[in-house]
């Protein structure tokens, strides 16, 4: 229970820090950086619910990022929906899409799961490209996303948009946090570690996986919505496989075994991206080298490394407790005989 209060306090503190940025007149570049970071951060964090917590390596997660973006953008362009209604509609659409894709994919193991999610993503991507009259094809949703006022909130105003996105972002992170610290979150770990045994404990493995897949997709969808609001458009590359790949890089760069690892990875990747784009024309080359160094040198994300050190210390303490208990038991046996 104390852990939950601490997490809530941290979430509140995070929100306050995010909200203080515009107050202190941060340059627009920083605010933009944070907005991009929140959208992609939700993509990476939600993907890690699958990869890190459940052992489901999905290569097609950006599909749900794009489905949130397009569903929201199209709903707003239709002029029939308010922003909250379109927001809800986009999440429901993403959930239904994830339910269909997930129902087909979650029974497959590892490599088949990875490739089938990739295949569905390419299918979705090609529908976006091909259905020009509806989605604008490779031009994306053109003409801007209308942002009518609702409840006195005007998202056409940059500051209000920033606050809105920050609140949505923190709520999503809090939901993910609650999820991974709940009984459900530990059932995910059971499945990740040993799904055969989890089934022998009475866990409905496919159903739990599917539930996780849908929730994760919905959070990615919110990321897509935030990005659409921010750039006032939606583009096919939101759902291209490279976007899924970037999300995996973010997880690698931060760490998959620490809750906020993917978010740290998002910041690192976007910083690297912005810096290299500014100073060189070889962005991919620099990114590739950094990732190679991380993978070959550290063999895990920096946060994972720290977490592992802490875990090793806890384990040493726990083993000392055992050794003391065993020594005590041996003495008793000797004394008794």
């Amino acid at each position: 229970m104390t852990g939950r209060w601490r997490d809530l306090a941290l979430a509140g503190a995070g929100l306050v820090i995010l909200l203080l940025v515009p107050l202190f007149g941060a340059p627009p570049a920083i605010r933009d950086f944070i907005m991009f970071g929140m959208a992609y951060g939700l993509l990476a964090m939600s993907l890690n619910l699958l990869i890190g917590y459940s052992g489901l390596v999905s290569f097609g997660h950006a599909m749900f990022f794009a489905s949130g973006a397009y569903a929201f953008g199209l709903a707003m362009q239709s002029g029939k929906f308010s922003i909250p209604a379109a927001f809800a509609l986009a999440i429901v659409f993403t959930a239904v899409l994830a339910l269909i894709v997930g129902a087909i994919c979650v029974r497959l193991n590892e490599i088949y799961f990875a490739f089938l999610t990739l295949a569905f993503q390419m299918l979705f991507y090609n529908v976006i490209l091909g259905w020009v009259s509806f989605t604008g094809g490779d031009q994306g949703l053109m003409g801007g996303i209308p942002r009518p006022k609702f409840l006195g909130i005007d998202l056409a105003d940059r500051t209000q948009l920033y606050v809105f996105c920050s609140v949505a972002f923190i709520i999503c992170i809090a939901i993910l946090r609650q999820l991974v610290t709940s009984p459900f979150g530990y059932t995910l770990r059971l499945i990740r570690d040993n799904q055969e045994r989890a089934a022998f404990l009475g866990v409905n493995v496919p159903l739990v996986k599917l539930t996780c897949f849908v929730i994760s997709a919905c959070v990615a969808g919110v990321g897509g919505i935030l990005l659409t609001l921010f750039v006032s458009g939606a583009y096919p590359n939101f759902g291209f496989w490279t976007t899924s790949g970037e999300a995996i890089f973010m997880i690698l760069l931060g760490g998959s075994n620490v809750f906020l690892g993917p978010l740290v990875g998002t910041v690192i990747l976007r910083l690297l991206n912005d810096i290299t784009v500014t100073y060189t024309s070889h962005t991919e080359l620099v990114l590739g080298i950094v990732i190679l160094i991380l993978v070959l040198g550290l063999r895990k994300g920096p946060l994972d490394l720290i977490a592992e050190r802490l875990e090793n210390r806890r384990q040493a303490a726990a083993q000392a407790v055992r050794d003391a208990a065993d020594a005590g038991a041996a003495d008793t046996r000797k004394g008794g005989s």
Partner: protein, 255 residues
């Protein structure tokens, strides 16, 4: 409690289980023995629904559970530990047992509360106490000693409060002293929980000392059953399993 009637199972033309009919009384402690390849583990796999049976019936308290999923069979009260401990490497002993307990309490998909729930924790503590695992509560499953891994494997099954517990070679890979400690633990929990316990065992000293009844499998069929005394004297058993030397069998030579 558990009745097997005319159980048959073949794998690609090889009959692994040939017409096995056995009755395990409520609250009994039974050893299943037999040479390697006799179909002992296969029998456990059939009872727990890991493989579908070809024909026959598996009755748990009168209800036919053949054809149900692994999960439904577990939920009806058949727990199982494995020959090679099947654990959750990245969870501590306490976490793993609490996760198993919450699955038993039908709380494994609860999202709005924190892990572990008080009820699951209490249950996990009881299991740790019963098995002597409290001293390793905070250790990750992958860092446990072999003996503690086997105990945790049993603990995971025990957390489900099974009516019937199947233990596949609980003493596998243990030294002589550790074996006896393990089997004493098994006996203790059998008495404490009053459940029907069936274990596969190769060490004849243990089998004849501990088991109330012994079932002997050979080539997928039941060769003999009875009290340890009866089985020990059964000439077929001596020939098929313990070797031709009856003298050696009397001395309890392990196969």
């Amino acid at each position: 409690m558990l009745k097997l009637e005319g159980l048959k199972k073949s794998f690609g033309g090889v009959a692994a289980t040939r017409d096995v009919t056995l009755d395990f009384a409520d609250g009994s402690l039974t050893a299943v023995i037999g040479p390697n390849g006799a179909g002992k583990t296969t029998l456990f796999n059939l009872i727990t629904g890991r493989f579908p049976i070809d024909s026959g019936r598996i009755l748990l308290g009168g209800e036919n559970i053949a054809g149900l999923s692994r999960r439904e069979i577990v939920r009806r009260g058949i727990g199982r530990a494995f020959q090679v401990a099947s654990l959750f490497p990245t969870l501590t002993v306490r976490e793993a047992l609490a996760a198993a307990a919450q699955a038993h309490q039908r709380r494994e998909t609860a999202m709005l509360v924190g892990f572990p729930t008080a009820a699951a924790m209490k249950h996990a503590d009881e299991v740790m106490e019963l098995l002597g695992l409290t001293r390793v509560a905070g250790i990750l499953s992958r860092n446990l000693s072999h003996g503690d891994q086997k105990l945790l494997d049993i603990g995971l099954a025990l957390a489900l409060e099974p009516k019937v517990l199947l233990l596949d070679e609980p003493t596998a890979g243990m030294g002589p002293e550790e074996r006896w400690r393990m089997i004493e633990t098994v006996q203790r929990l059998w008495r404490a929980r009053g459940m029907t316990l069936i274990f596969i065992e190769h060490d004849m000293d243990i089998v004849f000392k501990v088991a109330q009844t012994v079932r002997v499998l050979s080539y997928g069929a039941v060769l003999a059953e009875g009290t340890p005394e009866e089985v020990r004297r059964n000439p077929q058993v001596i020939e098929a399993y313990l070797g031709k030397s009856a003298h050696g069998a009397a001395e309890g030579a392990a196969a």
